[in-house]
């Protein structure tokens, strides 16, 4: 009897897991197809999923009274999202396929912001819960457990989509072309196919699948404005575990993760958040290109647009740096009291951005998880105050140590991978750190954070604290810059340009990258420590993916190919956010439009603006 109970429970739990897997698969597979064909890491995929849900909600309200009408509403929502995807592709992405990968990421991040605010404007802020699907609104009994019929329908749809995609990719000319583009881009152009058409088609297909995934959620969950970001990270995890570009991989990874969660919550109800990132980390460590990924995606060497050689500062550039330094020193006297607070934040974020820039530009090491080291620095300082009653000075000294140790640990794994897989592993580690900070309440204070992390008495005046932060951060930025010119920095640049050549001249590429990680981690840790004292508190948010994205946006906004880029990016991003907020509720929309426009018009960032102006003038 007990055994029967147990078996039936296992079966019921497995079915529940499969139903979740079905949703996850639909979202992940679209992302995977888009990445496979266009190589664009589409951050806005979650937004398309959200749009699918909202559009389906509205259509269901009009026509969802019967099974057929409801089904039609869901399908029409998918079609509508496919069309929206086509518009995004042909108006935005098409212009930036030749831009560096990270710029594409930034552009899609801009789309996320725009869609978020537009959705709120159109549908309002309330969660919208659609009625159940007529005909599939009950449950059937399986081994004594009531299993919703819609769950079974959803599982059926997932298999149908899997089968349909298999047929499409194996049996149609279009599918064969998509596969060819995924496996070997040169081949497609050699065949004389219009790549633009193929890319648009792939994006429309991916968007429609995301829209379908969102629409199919309507009978299960409410449409809400948090759907976009909450799904996108999970979708990336599935795609990476399955292997970028692999449809079967996405399916198997979705099932793997969903079943792990379904059974994991029975045994460890508290750690479900960490579980999927642990699975991803373990998968990538054991199988660096995911379960079904192809190693060729691993080549990170990009020789299309080599950077110009590094130039030491000449007299005018030196003068520029001095003006910036001098401005930083006199600004508190010129501007008001509040400006000191903003300037402090800018100085801190500039160091954070510079440490990220050091990795990306200096070493070609793309990370989506740089928040980990910033956050560890902040928590290092905060926990020192909280648990050890440490003063500001020792706490600030602990910050880079915490950042460096985290980077040392995470970096050891991450440098074994390259390209997008490395980026995703860095994200996994950052999210694991975030989950721990969020849920280990006894030690970290959880979501309520660590309070009372205020500067010591001697630095409690905002101006004094500003000078401290400014001088330390400026010194650190200068040090990072110095490192780029040192043998270590040049060798790191070499590993970015050609890992093959580097190892052929005796450079241990992995060790070199590992040390670069650690160095950047220490620098990010310093900025995190100052951030904690500037805000007087530390919250898990500092470790969250949004902090990593903020860092990337600052770096890209400022311009990658200039040492001044991260500083300009930190200034612009902080100011825009602060000032827009005063003016409008729709500041995300404005910021998103600004970012998208910037990527299209100024792919070299703000630092490239001056270069552009000069070119205009001389031509």
């Amino acid at each position: 009897m007990a055994l029967e109970d147990f078996v039936s429970f296992i079966v019921a739990q497995a079915i529940a897991g499969l139903a979740s897997a079905a949703s996850l698969f639909l979202i992940a597979v679209g992302l995977s197809i888009v990445f496979g064909v266009t190589r664009v890491v589409n951050f806005a995929h979650g937004s398309l999923y959200m749009l699918g849900a909202y559009i389906a909600y509205s259509l269901v309200a009009v026509m969802g009274d019967s099974f057929a009408g409801y089904l039609l509403a869901l399908l029409l929502a998918a079609v509508a999202v496919g069309i929206i995807g086509g518009v995004i592709e042909s108006t935005l992405l098409r212009r930036i396929y030749h831009a560096p990968e990270l710029f594409q990421l930034l552009a899609t991040f801009g789309v996320v912001l725009i869609v978020q605010d537009l959705t709120r404007t159109i549908w309002g802020p309330d969660d919208l819960f659609a009625p159940r699907m007529p005909g599939l609104d009950g449950a059937i009994d399986i081994l004594g457990h009531a299993i919703p019929t819609y769950d079974l329908f959803l599982i059926g749809v997932a298999f149908a989509v899997l089968g349909g995609l298999w047929l499409l990719f194996r049996k149609t000319r279009f599918g064969v072309l998509l596969r060819a583009a995924t496996e070997d881009r040169q081949m497609v152009s050699a065949l004389g196919i219009d790549q633009r058409w193929l890319f648009t088609a792939a994006f429309v297909l991916g968007a429609a699948l995301a829209g379908l995934g969102g629409a199919l959620q309507m009978p299960r969950q409410a449409a809400s404005l948090s759907m976009d970001l909450s799904i996108i990270v999970d979708a990336f995890v599935v795609v990476v575990i399955g292997g970028m570009g692999s449809i079967a991989g996405a399916f198997i990874a979705a099932v793997l993760i969903s079943e792990l969660l379904a059974f994991g919550l029975v045994i460890f109800p508290q750690i479900t958040l960490v579980l999927i990132f642990l699975v991803m980390a373990v998968t990538l460590v054991l199988k660096p290109s995911g379960l079904f990924g192809r190693p060729e995606f691993l080549t990170a060497e990009d020789v299309r647009n080599p950077d110009p050689p590094l130039q030491p500062s000449d007299a005018i550039a030196k003068a520029g740096w001095r003006v910036l330094l001098a401005w930083g020193l006199v600004a508190p006297f010129v501007l008001g009291e509040f400006s000191t607070v903003i300037l402090t934040e800018i100085a801190i974020l500039a160091l954070f951005a510079a440490s990220l820039h050091f990795l990306i530009w200096g070493g070609g090491l793309i990370t989506f998880g740089h928040a980990a080291y910033f956050g560890l620095g902040a928590y290092g300082a905060g926990l020192a105050v909280f648990h050890l009653s440490a003063g500001m000075a020792p706490a600030l000294l602990l910050a880079p140590v915490a950042g460096a140790l985290g980077a040392l640990l995470f970096g050891w794994f991450c440098v074994r991978l390259t390209g997008i897989y490395m980026a995703m592993l860095t994200l996994a580690f950052a999210q694991i750190a975030w989950s721990i900070a969020f849920q280990w309440i006894e030690f970290t204070g959880g979501d309520n954070g660590i309070l009372g992390v205020w500067p010591s008495a001697w630095a409690s005046d905002p101006t004094v604290f500003y000078y401290l932060a400014f001088l330390v951060c400026a010194a650190m930025i200068w040090a990072l810059r110095h490192v780029m010119f040192s043998p270590f920095g040049y060798t790191l640049r070499g590993t970015r340009d050609s890992a093959l050549r580097s190892s052929a001249i005796g450079v241990d590429v992995m060790r070199h990258r590992w040390l670069a990680f650690t160095l950047a981690g220490a620098a990010a840790g310093v900025s995190g420590g100052f951030f904690a004292f500037a805000k007087g508190s530390v919250f898990p948010e500092v470790l969250f993916v949004s902090t990593s994205v903020d860092g990337l946006v600052m770096v890209l906004l400022g311009g990658m190919q200039s040492m001044a880029g991260p500083i300009l990016g930190a200034i612009a991003y902080t100011e825009i956010q602060t000032e827009l907020n005063r003016v409008t509720d729709l500041w995300q929309l404005v910021l998103g439009v600004f970012i998208v426009a910037l990527v299209v018009v100024l792919p070299r960032g703000l630092a490239g603006l001056s270069a552009l102006l000069v070119r205009r003038r001389t031509s």
Partner: protein, 253 residues
């Protein structure tokens, strides 16, 4: 003591034996050409010697020290320089900086955080650059160089550790006729001047028979002939292998 000794080296991919029990040695000052039809296993053999792929069996010794299975950066410490079929250089640096980075590695200061690299090993680097005839291009960005000059740069970089052995994968691939001759003359001169041994693969039979002291012919992972160019050229087995791959005349003349 041979500069390079390869003993019973084997590497299979799936069921395909890319390198199947290969043994040979290269002596100081010797230019050895490794030839064979496409898919004969030349590149795999090169990569196995250089440490990019792990051999399944066999040994590799460089100047009497075992290097089997060691990573390329360790093999390099034994005095092995390498150039690639498709050049691998640091595209975002100048010619001079490319060589300086390699010299920093040679002088074990690649981890140095102190003095800027551009002030270090300058004269040494310039001398190497002059040696390959790129003196005038020292401060040019590598991304601006012609392909032939990239090949020269690779050679200069490969010489930074005063190698005993140069592994050159298709040293003249992608170059025009004149360039090929010049490149190989450069190699000949280096061999004469510093006594380095050169193991190279090459498709151009003029280059092979004009510049190799010895030729090793590989087919389906095995050595089917080895010896002086004239001897190999006359070998019936070699001719059989090359029928259909190269026209008969190319081998015979």
């Amino acid at each position: 003591m041979s500069v390079l000794t390869v003993t019973d080296l084997a590497k299979a991919y799936g069921g395909v034996r890319a390198v199947d029990g290969v043994s040979f040695a290269v002596e100081a000052g010797e230019r050895v050409a490794l030839i064979g039809p496409n898919g004969a296993g030349k590149t795999t053999l090169f990569n196995a010697i250089h440490g990019q792929v792990q051999p399944d069996a066999g040994r590799v010794m460089v100047r009497g020290a075992e290097t089997t299975g060691q990573a390329p950066h360790r093999v390099w410490r034994h005095g092995v320089g390498r150039t690639f079929q498709i050049t691998a250089t640091f595209m975002s640096m100048t010619v001079l900086e490319n060589v300086q980075v390699a010299l920093a590695s040679y002088h074990r200061s690649a981890l140095g955080l102190g003095q800027a690299l551009r002030h270090r090993y300058r004269d040494e680097a310039l001398a190497l650059i002059a040696q390959v005839g790129l003196r005038d291009a020292a401060n040019r960005a590598v991304s601006e160089l012609a392909y032939g000059d990239l090949k020269r740069l690779e050679l200069a970089v490969a010489l930074t550790n005063a190698p005993a052995l140069l592994l050159m994968d298709e040293p003249t691939a992608g170059m025009a006729g004149d360039g090929r001759g010049e490149m190989m003359k450069l190699v000949d001169r280096l061999v004469a001047d510093v006594g380095v041994a050169v193991l190279f693969t090459e498709h151009d039979m003029d280059v092979v028979f004009g510049h190799a002291d010895r030729v090793i012919v590989l087919d389906r992972g095995r050595i089917i002939a080895s010896g002086a160019p004239d001897v190999v050229r006359a070998d019936k087995g070699v001719r059989a292998v090359y029928l259909g791959t190269y026209d008969d005349g190319a081998v015979v003349t």
